[in-house]
Amino acid sequence: MPGLGARLGRGGATTTLASLADSDCIVIMGSNMAENHPVGFRFVVKARQRGATVIHVDPRFSRTSALADLYVPIRPGSDLVFLGALVNYVVNHERWQTDPFFREYVLHYTNASVIVSTDFRDTEDLAGVFSGYRAEQRRYDTASWHYAGQLHPVEGERWPCRPLVEPERDPTLQHPNCAFQLVKRHFARYTPELVEEVCGVPRELFLRVAETILANSGRERTTAFCYAVAWTQHTIGTQIISCCALLQLLLGNIGRPGGGILALRGHATIQGSTDIPTLFDLLPGYLKMPRAVPEHATLAGYFASERPATGLWYEMPKFLISLLKAWYGDAATPENDFGYSFLPKIGGDYSFQSILTMMEDGIIKGLFVMGMNPAVGGQNARLARRALANLDWLVVRDVHEIETASFWYDAPEVRNGEVRPQDIRTEVFFLPAAIAAEKDGTFTNTHRLVQWHDKAIDPPADARSEAHFVYHLGRRLKELYADDDSPAGQQIRALTWDYPTTGPHQEPDLMAVAREISGYRVADARPVAGFHELADDGSTACGCWIYAGIVTPEGEHRAKRRRGDERASLDWGFAWPANRRILYNRASADPQGRPWSERKKWIWWDPDQGRWVGYDVPDFPATKPPDYQPPPGAKGLDAHPGTAPFIMMLDGRGWLFVPHGLVDGPLPTHYEPWESPIPNLLYPTQPRSPVAPVFLRPDNPYHEIADPRYPYVITTYRLTEHHTAGGMSRWVPWLAELQPAGFVEISPELARELGIATGDWVVVETARGSAEARALVTERVQPLTIAGRAVHVIGMPWHFGFGGLATGGIANELAALIEDPNSLIHEAKSFTCTIRKGRLREGKAP
C-alpha cells in the first residue's frame, strides 16, 4: 500500500481488472493470478485473445505460467534487482531517450526535474545505506532526503498546515542532483549481468522481457503490471512495489487504459478493510491515526504536522472533522475539537505480529478473532498458539470450528503431550458466524470497486453476521458504561450507536451504516453528493470520505448498480474515489489535454465545454484547463498546474524520488531477504534491510545469511482450491477433496539428491519449527544458478492445519516474525529451511 501511495498518492490499484483487456503487454510478477484471482484473470485471457503478450515472472511454473507467453523463473526475494534492472535498461535505451512521448510524460507528470538537497547521499555512496542512518536505532533520520528549495509558512488558515514547499527544478534533467539523475545513478549497477547473478534469470531472457515491455509502452501502446502479496511479503516489499511504480512512471503507463499497476488483494474485500481499516495506524479514508506524541495532542496540532499546504490532502480538516461528526454526533462540537480527544492515540506498533508477542508476554489479555485463523495463519504459528494460550479470554467467530478455536485441545503440541489442555487458562468462546450469502453487505474488491450483495438466506441457528455481533456488543458496552466518567467511559458514551434494527434477531440496518459512511448534512440528514460537499465546521458528517457519495442524495446505494459496458462500466458498482475507475487518468491525455493517441484515449480536455470529458470520471478538477498555472501562494489543488495528474501529491506529480513517506529510503534498493542462502552481491556489508523491524526473542530465532544448516529457499503460497488459512475451504467437502492434504513441491533435481519420490513423507525444518507434508516432485519447480551455484527452491502451500477435512503440516510453523518497516507486513515469500525424507514422529500420524 505505501509502495504505490508514496509515489502516486494512493495505495489502491491504479487501474481496473477490465482495463487489462486493453493492455498490449501484461507482466504478472509477485502474483499467481490465474490461481488466486481466477475471475479477474478472465481479462488477461481476453487481452491475450486481442494479441497482448503475457509475461509471468515467478519461482514456480504455476497455472498462471501455463497461460503466459514468456515464463521467467526467478529466485524468491530477488524481485527488486529485476525491476531495478528494467529501470536501468529503460533510461539508457535509445528509444526511451529519443521518443518525445517519454520525455513529455516524465517531465510534466513526474518529479524528475526536482533538485534534491546536496545533503542527500545514496546507497551507492554509503555502501548500502542512505544518508541519515542511525545504526543504533535501526532507523533513518530523513532530513537529508529533502528537496533543495524554499519553505514558506502558511498563515491565516482556519486549521493550520505544514509550510509550502517551493522546490528548485531543472527542466533539462541534467542537474546532477535532479531526481532523474539520482535515479539513473542509483540503478546503474542493476545490469542484466547482475540479474543473472542474483535472480538466476539468464541475461538474454531478461533482455527479452525488457525489450517486450519497452516495445509495448509509449503513445500507442501500454503495459500493465499485476502484483499480489508475493511482492508485499518481503522485508523490502514496499520498495519492490514502489520500484514498479517508478518504472511505470518512466514508461508513461500510469493513468492510461491498459496500463497501470493492479494491486491484486489477498482476498475478498481486503481493499475495503484498508479503506475503512482494520489497521491500527489508520482512520477511515487513509487519515493517519493520531499518535501519543505532543504534536498530536490537539486537533490543530494534528493538522499542523499532518496537513500539507498543497494537493488534495490540504482538504484534510473537512475529511477528519466530518468523520468525528459521524462518530461522535452531538458530542462533537467546535468547543471540544469535535471530540478529537475521544480518539485513542497510539503509542507503538500494534500490527498483527506485534500483538502476538504482546499476548505471549501477557500485555494483551483478550482477543477477538473474526475472519482470521492465527493458530495456522500466523507467522511462527507455534508462537502464535502459545500467545493464544496465554490470554484470559478469546472470542472466535467463524463458520467452522477453526484451529484458533480448537487449539487448546487439538493442536499438535497437545496431541503429542507437550501441552495439557488443563494448563491452558484461556477461556475460548466460539461463536458461529454467517457467510456472505447469509447477510447483506458490500465487498470492496481489488480495483476499489464496491459491490453490494443481498442476503439470499437466513443464517442457520445461532449464526449471526459480523455487523450483528459488533453492533450489539457496542450497544451493551454503552449500557455498561452509561454512568462511567473515566476517559474510556467518555469515549464509549460519546460514540453514536443508533442504527435501526430489523427482523427477529435485530440485525442492524446496513443501509443506515452505508448512509453514515457516505456522508450527510448534519442539519437535515440529506446525503452529500461527494467529498467536495464536506465541510470543516461540523456541518457535515462522513464515515469515510473516499466513499462519499456512494449513497446518492436520492438514497440509492450505487454499489447495487449492475450496468456494465465495454469501457469504464461506470454504472457497475461504485469505485472510490468519486467513481473514478482509472486513477490519475489526467495522464491519459498529453500536457495540452489531447489524447496521447486515438488507440489509448480515455479522458481529454474539451475546450468548447471547458471541461474534461471521456469515458471515465476525471481524476482531476473537472474544469481546470490544461494551461492553468497556479498563482503564487495558491493552496490545495489550486496550487497544482493543469498538467499535474497526481492530485494527492504535494506537487501533483508522480515521484521518482520520494523525499518523505517511506522509512527505508527515497529510492528502492535491493537487500536480501532476512534469511537468504547468498550474501548481498550489491552491498556485501549490508546484506539485509537496515531498518526492518526484528523480533529478537528466544522463541523467534533467525537463520544466518548462507546458514549451512538451512541451505534451501522456501516460498509459501496459496492454491485455487483453498482460501487463506483454510477456514472457508478445508471444512467444505467439495473444496477439501480437490486438495485434500498438505504437500511441498520440489524439483526432480533436489528430489534425486535427497532420494525423495512423489508421495513420500517429508519434514521441512527451520529454527522455529517443523512441518510434515507429502512430496510432490515436479519440473514446475527448478533449481536456479545463483552466483555460480545451484540454489534449490521449495514451495509449500500454507493453507493446511490440523482441523477440518483437508489437513496437513502448518507451513507458517516454519516462518519467522519479521517485517517490512513501512507496511509492517511479514516476510513469508522467502526464507531458508532444510528438508528431509521421513516423518516428524516415526510411525505416527501427524
Binding site: A34, E35, P38, V39, F41, R42, V45, R48, F61, R63, T64, S65, A66, L67, A68, D69, L70, Y71, V72, P73, L205, R208, L719, T720, E721, P733, W734, L735, A736, E737, L738, Q739, P740, A741, F743, T758, G759, R774, L776, T778, E779, R780, Q782, L805
Partner: protein, 283 residues
C-alpha cells in the same frame, strides 16, 4: 467414404442439439466447474486423498464426479530443458475439464435394456434415475468410461448436461462458473463453427490445435460426433482420451460372424478328428 481431413470440424449432431465446447487453451485449471457441478447436482465428496498426480486429486469421471479436470505436466522439451518461451494460451501444463460427451450415437443408451437412458429434447443423453435398475450394461458400453454405478444407490450416474437448468433456460452450472469461458454452452453446430474458427486462429499462431469430438477425431467409429467436444493442443492420448473411440455395438456383427466362423472351424475340425479316429478303428 470421406477421408479424415474432410470430416474435420463436422458433426452428425441433430440440428437443435445443445452441447459444450471445452476449449483447453483458455482453461486455467481452477476446478470451478467441478465444484459448481457438485453443488448444483448435490453430489457427495469422493475423497480419493492425495494422489500425487500433479494437481489432480479427482482422478476420473465417476458416479459422483461429472466434471473432472485432468492435469498433465509436459514441462520440459525433448532435451530436458525447461521452457521460457511458451506457445500462446495454455501450454506445457495441460489442463482439461473432462465431461460426458453426450455422443450423437450414444453407446450407453443403446446398451441400456430398461430404456432408462434417453435422448432429451436438447439432444443430450440422460439417465432417468427412477427407471435405471443398476444393471451396469452402460458402463462398458461407453468408449470414454463415463457412466458409473454408485455404491450409494447401485444405479448408474453421469452428467445430465444440467437438464433441470436447461428446462429453466439456464446454462449448465459448469459453463456458468467457468471464469475464462473455457467451457462454452450452446447449440452444437454454432459451437462447432466457433471451434473451427478458433482452431484455425490458433494454428495461425503456431499452436498444434485440434478439435476432439468431430467426425475426424473422437467422434469416430459410428459415434458421429460428440455433442460435448473439446479443443486440444496435443494428441488425445495425452489427455487420457481414446484416439479412435468406437461404438461397442459396432462389434456385434463382426463378433457374430467371427463366432460363427470359429464355431464352423471347430465343427469341421471335430468332424475331421472323428473321421481319423474311425479310420484308425477300422484299420
Amino acid at each position: 467414404m470421406k477421408g479424415p481431413a474432410a470430416l474435420e470440424g463436422t458433426t452428425r449432431a441433430r440440428p437443435g442439439a445443445f452441447g459444450f465446447l471445452t476449449d483447453t487453451t483458455l482453461c486455467i485449471g481452477c476446478k470451478a466447474c467441478e465444484v459448481a457441478c457438485k453443488q448444483w447436482n448435490q453430489l457427495p465428496m469422493d475423497d480419493f486423498g492425495f494422489t500425487g498426480m500433479s494437481y489432480d486429486n479427482t482422478g476420473d469421471l465417476g458416479a459422483t464426479t461429472w466434471r473432472h479436470v485432468a492435469f498433465i505436466e509436459r514441462i520440459s522439451d525433448r532435451e530436458g530443458r525447461r521452457p521460457t518461451t511458451l506457445a500462446p494460451f495454455q501450454s506445457n501444463w495441460l489442463m482439461l475439464s473432462d465431461v460426458c460427451k453426450h455422443c450423437v450415437h450414444a453407446g450407453c443408451m443403446e446398451a441400456c435394456p430398461t430404456g432408462a437412458i434417453i435422448r432429451t429434447e436438447f439432444d443430450t443423453v440422460v439417465i432417468q434415475q427412477d427407471i435405471c435398475n443398476g444393471c451396469g450394461y452402460c458402463v462398458p458400453a461407453c468408449p470414454f468410461g463415463v457412466p458409473a454405478l454408485s455404491p450409494l444407490d447401485g444405479k448408474a450416474h453421469k452428467c445430465t448436461l444440467c437438464y433441470d437448468r436447461l428446462k429453466d433456460g439456464l446454462e449448465p452450472a459448469c459453463a456458468k462458473a467457468c471464469p475464462t469461458d473455457a467451457i462454452q454452452f450452446g447449440p452444437v453446430h454454432a459451437l462447432m463453427d466457433r471451434a473451427r474458427a478458433r482452431v484455425s486462429e490458433l494454428r495461425a499462431q503456431g499452436v498444434d490445435a485440434r478439435i476432439y469430438g468431430d467426425q475426424a477425431l473422437g467422434g469416430t467409429g459410428g459415434i458421429g460426433g460428440l455433442n460435448a467436444f473439446f479443443i486440444l493442443t496435443a494428441p488425445p492420448e495425452v489427455y487420457n482420451l481414446p484416439a479412435k473411440p468406437e461404438l461397442p455395438q459396432r462389434r456385434v456383427l463382426p463378433a457374430f460372424f467371427t463366432t460363427a466362423l470359429a464355431a464352423l472351424a471347430l465343427g469341421i475340425a471335430t468332424l475331421f478328428s472323428f473321421r481319423r479316429v474311425g479310420r484308425m478303428h477300422h484299420g
